[in-house]
């Protein structure tokens, strides 16, 4: 379970460009479910995901992830949580050009010190799962948009995270690939992972696998479904 307790985020506090990206927000995201944060561009979706994923700290308020309070943790502990608890899927795939798909996928697991042979074996399983086995040794700049998207999903899963976070994942995908992506997210949910997606794409928000939608606008949660 992920719980926000009066979390608030202000950028440039005390400066002329001060901007409140997220006003005091309290919400609970249940474990093992597929939840969507829906809102227009600039509404605070990415800020909310960044706070939950330990990518940034709130200005005030606390956040609990899987029973652990994360906002007070010193940076060195957050690194471990980011690595082991979360898998991230970004809007811009953020794959590293010049490296192969396989190297990109195993990259987040490198700092764990696990043997490369073991990492490659685990990555091979993910490549099979996403029908990418033939592309494992291809450099990522040679991949199509759909293939690159699946590589980013494989990369998000390499450390077997309990929570998968996706920020506008279908922004660069056509309708067919968007539906495929949501099918994949649905499967991850049935495997027992918590999936959290920020999007304003109806193909995402209205997908049958989605169990809960929070509406956000101007930095405030203004509704939820169901």
């Amino acid at each position: 379970m992920i719980a926000l307790d009066k979390a608030r985020k202000v950028f440039g506090q005390g400066k002329p460009n001060e901007f409140t990206a997220l006003y005091e927000t309290s919400l609970t995201i249940e474990a093992d479910r597929l939840t969507v944060i829906r809102g227009p561009s600039g509404s605070g979706k990415t800020t909310l995901l960044s706070l939950i994923g330990c990518m940034t700290r709130p200005t005030s308020g606390r956040i609990h992830v899987l029973g652990r309070e994360i906002t007070s943790l010193p940076e060195r502990f957050l690194t471990e949580i980011r690595r082991k608890t979360f898998g991230f899927i970004f809007q811009q795939f953020n794959l590293i050009p010049g490296l192969t798909a396989l190297e990109n996928v195993i990259l987040p697991a490198y700092p764990t010190g696990e043997r490369r042979s073991s990492l490659e074996k685990r990555a091979a399983g993910l490549f099979d799962l996403f029908d990418l086995a033939s592309k494992a040794r291809s450099r990522v700049e040679w991949l199509s948009g759909g293939e690159a998207q699946r590589v980013t999903i494989a990369r998000a899963l390499i450390n077997d995270p309990a929570v998968v976070i996706a920020d506008e994942p279908t922004a660069h995908l056509d309708s067919k690939l968007s539906r495929e992506f949501m099918e994949t997210m649905g499967r991850l949910k049935t495997q027992g992972r918590t999936v959290l997606i920020a999007s304003h794409d109806p193909l995402v928000t209205d997908h049958p696998a989605v169990e809960r939608v929070f509406h956000i606008r101007d930095g405030r949660i203004d509704g939820a479904r169901p």
Binding site: K6, A7, P58, S60, P74
Partner: protein
Amino acid sequence: MIFHPLILALFTASLLTGFMVVYASVFGAQILRRWDLRSGSELQLGLERKTYLVSTLLGYAFAAELLSLALFVFTADRIHGFFVGAMCAAGTLKANAFGYPALLLKGTNAILAGLWLILNTADNKGSDYPLVKTKYRWLLAATPLILAEIVLQAAYFLKLDPDVITSCCSTLFSQGGTSLGSDLASLPVAPMRVLFFSSLALSAALGVVFVRTGRAGVFLGLSSAATLAVSVLAIISFISIYIYELPSHHCPFCLLQAGYHFVGYPIYFSLFGGAIAGLGVGVLQPYRKVPTLSEAVPKLQKKLAIAAVVCFLVLAAIVLVEMAVSQLVLPD
């Protein structure tokens, strides 16, 4: 005099350390009054973020404090040529009333700085800032001493007058005089030799016991403090005369010079290193049961205990070698 590069370096280091310590003390007072990990207030989250930065900067400041002790003694030794009568740092420090008090405070503060660094290292290993209040209490206690040291050091260097005829170390640390140095030099050699090696052996043994069993941490701390005091007396009483091969020369500073192969540096480094590491084991002992430190503190203590044992054994080895190769023959 004040524009000597070493003195300027000491001034700069002191001013930076002083600024950091005062800034961190003001912040530390806020931590002691307002810290509440259960709160999600903006103030609390700000304190959590800032303590990480302040502790890191303070870590560098205290590392500089440790080094500045060595630099202060080195500087006092290097500038002895400016003063009539001075042969080493002993004479330079005697050139005005502030030299020895400054040295004493620098030594005390170096130990406090070392212990604060150990506390900070332990605190950084806990996920819930377990020693945050403790380390800022230490800081607030040490701040007046550090500021006093800065003032004394400044007064010492600013009031140095090359026209003053100062005393040579043979006078300051001669037997039969009335000064404190003379009293220390007059300590009997044979009992001091036994006391010195016994205290080293006891501290090293307690260190080994701690590494093996995790017990006797407080005793190791106390023993290390006693070893530091006994060793300083022993250096003046008998170690010096073996190094100089002169039964009447008890100076604790000449052994820092090239003529004696700078042997004083490894002696003092191993002594202070062992003492700080051993004291650190004792200081950390109450925090072994803190839930978020129950794994990290015993590991850190073990490393410190090993460091203390190694330092004390190195010190014993240096002194034994110096005694063995010395041409000095003392009457039984």
